[in-house]
């Protein structure tokens, strides 16, 4: 398998890495760079647990190859809070108990962050449409909708 030298700008920092052609962004983040906040739920693009932002757009990191993203900006859950300050979405998820086991939470937060950047004042239906690819077995989802609404009223994502 060919090995490629690429650079990814992860949460604002340039990372240089050697990746085989078939390495997905998910595995590059988790195993090469140690960003384990991004979760592996199905490796088939069906559950959304591995959602990250690539140049601001939500992407299932299990479905894209790292080698294709040379030079791109990646934002992971580790990049949402700055200087210990939670983003309004993170704060709302915590305050409203929109978190239970927490395994879907990073993906939910990344997809919600992308939504609020594109639509700072979404309706409940907008939120359902944006998060329909993010599965959660614990919460029943209503708290997640409520948290995104709360964060949007607080001024939307950073």
């Amino acid at each position: 398998m060919r090995i490629h030298s690429i650079s990814l700008i992860v949460n604002g920092t340039e990372e240089l890495l050697q990746v085989p052609s078939n390495l997905t962004l998910l595995h590059a983040l988790r195993e090469k760079l140690g960003f384990t906040g991004t979760k592996n739920g199905c490796e088939a693009g069906e559950c959304g647990a591995c959602t990250v932002l690539v140049d601001g757009e939500p992407v299932n990191s299990c479905l894209v190859l790292a080698v294709e993203l040379d030079g791109k900006e990646i934002t992971t859950i580790e990049g949402l809070s700055e200087n210990g300050q939670l983003s309004p979405l993170q704060q709302a998820f915590a305050d409203l108990n929109a978190v239970q086991c927490g395994y879907c939470t990073p993906g939910m937060l990344m997809a919600s962050t992308a939504l609020l950047r594109r639509n700072p004042d979404p309706t409940e239906l907008d939120i359902q449409e944006a998060l329909v690819g993010n599965l959660c077995r614990c919460t029943g989802y209503q708290r997640i909708i409520d948290a995104v609404m709360k964060a949007s009223r607080n001024g939307g994502a950073q």
């Binding site: 384990t36 906040g37 739920g41 927490g102 395994y103 449409e129 077995r137 029943g140």
Partner: protein, 782 residues
Amino acid sequence: MKISETSVVGKSVIRTDAIDKVTGCAVFVDDIQFGPNLLHSRLVRSPYPHALIKSINTKKAEQLPGVRAIVTGKDLTARLGLYLIDRPIFASDRVRYYGEPVAGVVAITEDIAVEAAKLVEIEYEVLPAVYDPVESAQPGASLLHPDLGSYTVANFIFPEPGTNISENFKIRKGDVESCWPDCTAIAEGQFRLPPIEHVPLETHTSIALSERSGQITLWASSQSPFAMRDMIAQSLGIPHNKLRVIAPMVGGGFGGKAGVTMEACAVVMAQAVEGHPVKLRLTREEEFVGTSVRQSLVSEIKVGCDKAGNLLGMELTYYFGGGAYNDYGVNIARAAGYSCTGPYDVPNVKADSLCVYTNHPVGSAMRGFGMPEIHWGLEQIMDQLAEKIGMDPAEFRLKNCVRTGDEIVSGMKMTPIDLETCINKVMKVIDWEKEEKPTAPNKKRGKGLAIMWKAPAMPPNPGSAAVVRFNEDATVNVEVGGQELGQGAFTIAAQIAAETLGVPYESVTVSSPIDTKYSPYEWQTVASRLTWSMGNAVKAAAGDARTQILETVAAHWDEEVDDLTIKDGLVISFKSEREQPLENMVIYGLPNENFEGWKGGPVIGRGHFMPTYVTNLDPETGQGTRAVVHYTVGAQAIDLEVDLETGQLEVLNIASVYDVGKAINPDLIMTQIEGGAVHGMSSAFEELKFNEGGEVINPSFVDYRISTIADIPRKIHGDYVETPIDDGPWGARGVGEHVMVQTAPAIANALYDAVGIRFSDLPLSADKIYLAIDENTNPGNK
């Protein structure tokens, strides 16, 4: 001090794990980094549901560069199990379900392990398979376990060697035969549920390391680190102190990570490559194919009542399809047996609750543990009976539901509950009497109600232990062996410790990961038992620490312990109004006068709890003094509509009310009620599907759909009632599983109200509903 005066118990404080989970800091087992020494593995799984293994040839696989070891069941005759030791770690002579592990391959990369797994050559002789539990229970059915009589079994489980019946729990109460002539109405029915999956977002993952010293460490996504250690240690002959299980945060359990699933496979593979950690991470497909399922059930129910609507008798047969191994499932049949009537007062009962081997995946614990299965039929037949005597189903339930002190089906006196208030509350919220208009002309709307009960199902004496340690600055570490699965167990433990100690909630940390080397014992995180059992242990440990502190300060001030208390981290005297901060004194103690010596020292509280009052039941009648510790009850009412052109259901409103004893954290109860309602709703549409060859045909999120954010009810109206029990902390008991138990039958009852058709089999798929409506409106017109 009055017991009702609490400062943090009863408050909806923020979860202890919330910040870790929203920042990506929470560590799950797959997140732990092991460095270059780590090896990867893959299981070779059976392609047949029932077959003899004639030969296994691993030569080609071994020759693949990068392969480090291949293990099979050949030299591994030991079995494991919780209540019935019937399950091999790797199949040795026979496979009993599609997907059963037959061999394990260890390699330097996951890709090589996958390739090598394909090269393992196994020759099978296919045997007849049986999937239907009723068929499998009959004499002459193809036997799955000819050696059943030789298996080790708990003394309250009764297998029938020479058959496929692994448990037969009987209730014989009153005289059911003589009650039928007195009945004005009798309803009879057969109800079926298919196997369904737990579907946690985190798949089962384990890493095992066998060191040259003989020490074995197992990192696992587990609800049951201690039970896992016990089962694997017993099976493999490892001393308990040489097997260490470390269980970090669990990404969803729902019962699927209770006991042992595939973790023993990782240990056996690690033993073949000493010194290397071996990771076994199930793919999503394997999670669907190769982990435990909620058992299938066929229930046959006959129930009768008099003219006034009083229940007179019930006759029940439950056939649980336990799958290939029933090591855990036998106790589901038992639990379904001693609670077989549902939450009703019935004087005459005859019941047989059977767990039956079938060639399906292993049936095991899933949220509700037998109760969603039996309530599916029970709660529909109660509606049918009420209709026969012309009584409103809610009124019928209010008349017959179980009340505190009633002698219930197992002969025990009902523990304190208030089911009537639960029913009245859901009726009010859903506006029970009011007929709602459909939102479109092609839709029909209906309302349905269902009630439930459930007791923690477990051995009579499962224990909990806790340790409370102070730090110099008077912050506190609470150590428990119970697990945080998302239900909020750590938050409850922190609240109980803070309340008992008189320190701020924020100063309490619950130690994670659970580590059998350091954590105090906990049987398992199952049965909705932690708030109650672990809560009691934490309260005892914190009480022990509190006593140590007060004794030191009382001696220091020359006062009586009874005159002192701790509030906001200060010891205060009601008598002298003196104050002593906990800071430093909880480690360094206090000096005597003029520093002539010291008192006290590092404060460590210990506590445990174990129920001591559960009694045996008569094997022929199922009667005894106390079958279980207590029951939790609840009611749900559902308002839905169905699209007549597509058969699609939409749940509009769910009212869901449970009697929790005491709400330690009210909002966490609401999160369980909401999540459970959606889980319960989703379960009504789920089915693990098999083709004729026994192969799972829907092992992905696309083909096995769980509810998405677009599918949820428009509104979930949750509420709770507080009727305290005498053996829980502040009267509290569990509610985590109960919240989905009766959702599916409540939906079925509402669907009947909408379209006048009874659906006795799950799932409630749109095509099934559409075809039934079509047949109903145009009989014979296909």
